[in-house]
Symmetry: C2
Subunit: 209 residues, 2 copies
């Protein structure tokens, strides 16, 4: 399968699901896993699993399955997790602070290099070894600290404005936690983590019971 082939976004999302599943079943000790087994624990069709993996190479062996350790390493490589990424938190309010302390980030391949806020009472503080900078200094710090990912945890009302500054500072990716819809130019990567939206989908389906 050629390296130029276009990969569906849904496939990329499932690759991280497979990583989760691996860390959950790894103890089980088998050093290979079949697409059928991986599919069952993931709640996905087995042909889908094979197709997802086949986009990136021939990792499996017919009659045997996939070597777990090797496959895990491959997926991490595909997702770009074989190196560290510099991230910064925007908004040092409650959510931002909780995210600064969240052990999950460090545990994966993310290095939290800074936080930004515009509240003078917060600026220059440090939390979990992460310094809080003035948002007004963003352009300089983004360059000096080589920030690659912006984690946006500001109130919805100012989210678009802060996003604009992030774009202007040439940070190429934003993970948005604010319950707001952001418009960013094509060159900027954007993903949303919207609790409220997920809850709203839950209540829609709950209603129909």
């Amino acid at each position: 399968m050629g390296p130029k082939m276009k990969i569906p976004v849904t496939t990329v999302n499932r690759l991280s699901l497979y990583l989760r599943v691996f860390s959950q079943i790894e103890k089980a000790g088998n050093d290979t896993i079949s697409s059928k087994e991986l599919a069952e624990v993931s709640g996905i069709n087995s042909a889908q699993v094979r197709k997802d993996l086949a986009y990136f190479g021939q990792f499996g062996r017919r009659g045997v399955g996939y070597p777990v350790a090797e496959l895990k390493k491959q997926i991490r490589g595909i997702l770009g997790l074989d190196r560290d990424w510099n991230a910064a938190i925007f908004g040092a309010g409650r959510l931002g602070q909780a995210l600064m302390m969240y052990p999950g980030f460090g545990a994966y391949s993310f290095h939290m290099v800074a936080a930004f806020d515009s509240d003078p009472d917060k600026i220059s503080w440090e939390l979990e070894g992460i310094r809080i900078y003035d948002l007004a200094d963003l352009k300089r710090q983004a360059k000096d600290l080589k920030i690659e990912i912006a984690i946006l945890a500001v109130p919805a009302a100012v989210a678009q404005d802060v996003a604009n500054r992030i774009v202007a500072a040439k940070i190429p990716a934003i993970l948005n936690f604010a319950p707001a819809h952001l418009n960013v130019p094509a060159g900027t990567m954007l993903r949303n983590v919207d609790f409220a939206s997920e809850l709203e989908a839950l209540t829609y389906f709950l209603q129909k019971t």
Copy 2:
């Protein structure tokens, strides 16, 4: 369009997006909005917007557009946000505590009635007026407090176990914040909020720049 028609999940997700967009543009003052305008700010095709809304009724007027206030009310009703939902947090660690304090929940239609943990140092505490109960008491409290939504913020390693207890306590919906893949029976609604997974998708696309 008949009420028996099956609604795509993607449509339900977009309905909450439209609500976000409304609260962002409401100040602009116009009392109607066209599918084209709504599509533009939402980053969606205008036929998609019309189709999404048409699943639930004929809310628009040809040549005019959709009445904003009315449409907003309709969407809230469709999503089940015209009444309150009792939710409880599972896991009173850092993430759980941050979620307990998160103003967003109350602001929408969610009422946080309890938290659960199994750490004796945390049990019986209260945070933001939310009492922390012993996880062992879940079955009784779930019934007494009429918990309808479980917000899971425990470590990944115990997430499946706590999810099993939630299912056993007959709570019909789970919003999972743990970076773990959960298996739940068909009668239980499950949605995942996985920061790490979103970051991993970002790095995949960042790599290719």
